[in-house]
Symmetry: C2
Subunit: 343 residues, 2 copies
């Protein structure tokens, strides 16, 4: 059973949600390294789990408002950094943190580095549709991207969709403002040309999909830059949440109905950052899951199980192989130029 | 009472929705020029409205799959072009079409031109929140933008919010991936600097807002490029629509509830392109409303009333004045350079 490190001082309400998630995880059969200030944590640990629970001392914390890169470098004994070092040392096979996502990215890059051949890691998240999930990346790690980044996201997203969702040959699309090839931007068109001219055995490139298609299962993996992915995700979350508030305003019968409809509730949970299981930081050389700062115990627990599944299924190893296999695509992308916008 | 021209051959189901909207509009007291092939339309016109309804013959139509710019130029007698010419000639004070939005933009630019000082017109749409609407532009006219475009959208969006929503001094924000000034892209940061260093008496620039804030009324006007605006709009629509489908699956009681909750129903209608009143093409020198190709009679009717209000309230005239007043801002924007993305 792969052991997972949990950063005890990541979330906004640190360490309460992490301690509650720890209890759920131990009950659920997971082995955990809890990483944080032992003085604050020791008296609060659940007893009777023996070696399944280890407390790893880390004297410092990284604040939500600190400059991510600077904090990661200046605080080697921050709980996040110590958790990543546990992974580097092979003491654990995955890390979960609800800290500043920029800091998690910086710490993972510093400690683990990238999978050989990967230029930029991405944040991989999932959109629910009525019959499953659509993988979406990048959800915010890279505000500016070039075609090389997008085609690497395509390869990595396809590996995730196969391992986590069981898609034998995932349908990969580029997120766009229309389905016709003439739509999109210089970036999406260059990326589409690369994916079309270098077909992969591991996934099927199906062209463009509009954001509405994410909710209809039109593709298994949707690829975009971190700016667009982040805003599309936040727009969808906002639109989902307004319905809950409308139901709330509509009064007790509607609210009760909403709460008892399991489909509704699970959809809301999937898109609600307070309840979401976390996003995979994909492309770094190890399993790292980023949770929302407002994550509660259930979200952190879901993230721990996702980390454990990623480790058990060999996600990082499979990504290494996929990145190596697709080298001709990446070589072509490296020499691809995106025309300057005309204005 | 300002007269409005309705392109009878715009929508996907042309001319049926347009004819049904015409009946609603005449009942509602609007004066209409219906523009299209008189042979097809004449026998189907409602009688008894005298001069309030005029049939303007246009022999040709522009198809949804035609190249917009080419079709507009090669078919001077297309219903869309004839409707725009009615506006240029002063026969009507607004045009509504559910045709190809690229063609509407091209026809309006060719016939009306831009308001003096405006570099790029934008598509202005509205997001509902629980207590009103947020103006969002550009929703898709300009995939690539520079700071000059965004600051002009800010000025025009503020004029619209004041005239249409009664915001005395609209709060204008730039759509971004976080609220801190360090977030955003080179484009948004350059635009934010310009709006901060050139404060306007007509609106208050409040910095960045995330997409979720659109649904919470955090600003009156949200400004973005046409790529981001289009994808955010479509993501929100997709997320709204999945709830309807979940309620549908949940069975008759839930569906009945959804249909009877007026708040819910009106929110859905506002975000549903089939029911939406249309988007204002802002920045061209006259009142033009673009409807979704799937627009039904109610949406077209709402668009006709929006066109009539814009004309009555002098939107174009007020925009001209606002553009002239903000010239120092635009001059500064013209010399603003956006740094190249580093990658």
């Amino acid at each position: 059973m792969p052991r997972i490190a949990l950063d005890a001082f990541g979330s906004d309400a640190r360490p309460e949600p992490e301690l509650a998630a720890l209890a759920l995880a131990l009950d659920g059969g997971l082995d955990i390294d809890l990483v944080g200030d032992s003085e604050q944590l020791e008296a609060r640990l659940p007893a009777g789990y023996g070696d399944r629970l280890r407390l790893i001392h880390a004297a410092a914390q990284i604040g939500m408002d600190e400059s991510p890169a600077r904090a990661v470098k200046s605080k080697p004994d921050a709980s996040l950094n110590v958790a990543i070092r546990q992974l580097v040392a092979g003491e654990v096979e995955g890390v979960v943190s609800a800290g500043n996502s920029g800091a998690i990215l910086a710490s993972a890059l510093l400690g683990l580095g990238r999978i050989p051949g990967v230029d930029r890691p991405a944040i991989l998240t999932r959109f629910p549709h009525l019959d499953g999930n659509t993988v979406v990346l990048d959800a915010g790690a890279n505000v500016e991207c070039r075609p090389l980044n997008l085609v690497q996201f395509a390869v990595m997203g396809a590996v995730f969709a196969k391992l986590e969702h069981g898609c034998e040959r995932p349908r990969v699309a580029l997120l766009s403002n229309g389905s016709e090839p003439s739509k999109g931007t210089a970036l999406t068109r260059a990326s589409a040309n690369l994916l079309t001219s270098h077909p992969s055995e591991q996934f099927e490139f199906i062209g463009y999909v509009e954001p509405g298609g994410l909710f209809e299962g039109q593709c298994d993996v949707a690829v975009t830059d971190g700016w667009t992915g982040n805003l599309v995700l936040k727009a969808a979350e906002g639109a989902m949440r307004i319905w809950l508030r409308v139901l709330d305003r509509a009064g007790p019968p509607a609210l009760a109905l909403a709460q008892t409809q399991t489909t509704l509730a699970s959809l809301t949970e999937q898109l609600d950052p307070d309840a979401h299981g976390g996003a995979q930081l994909i492309g770094v050389d190890g399993t790292v899951i980023i949770c929302h700062g407002a994550a509660g115990p259930r979200a952190l627990y879901n993230a721990l199980t996702l980390a454990q599944r990623s480790a058990t299924r060999g996600l990082t190893h499979t990504l290494r192989e996929a990145i190596a296999i697709h080298r001709p695509l990446f070589d072509a992308a490296r020499s691809s130029r995106v025309p300057e916008p005309t204005s």
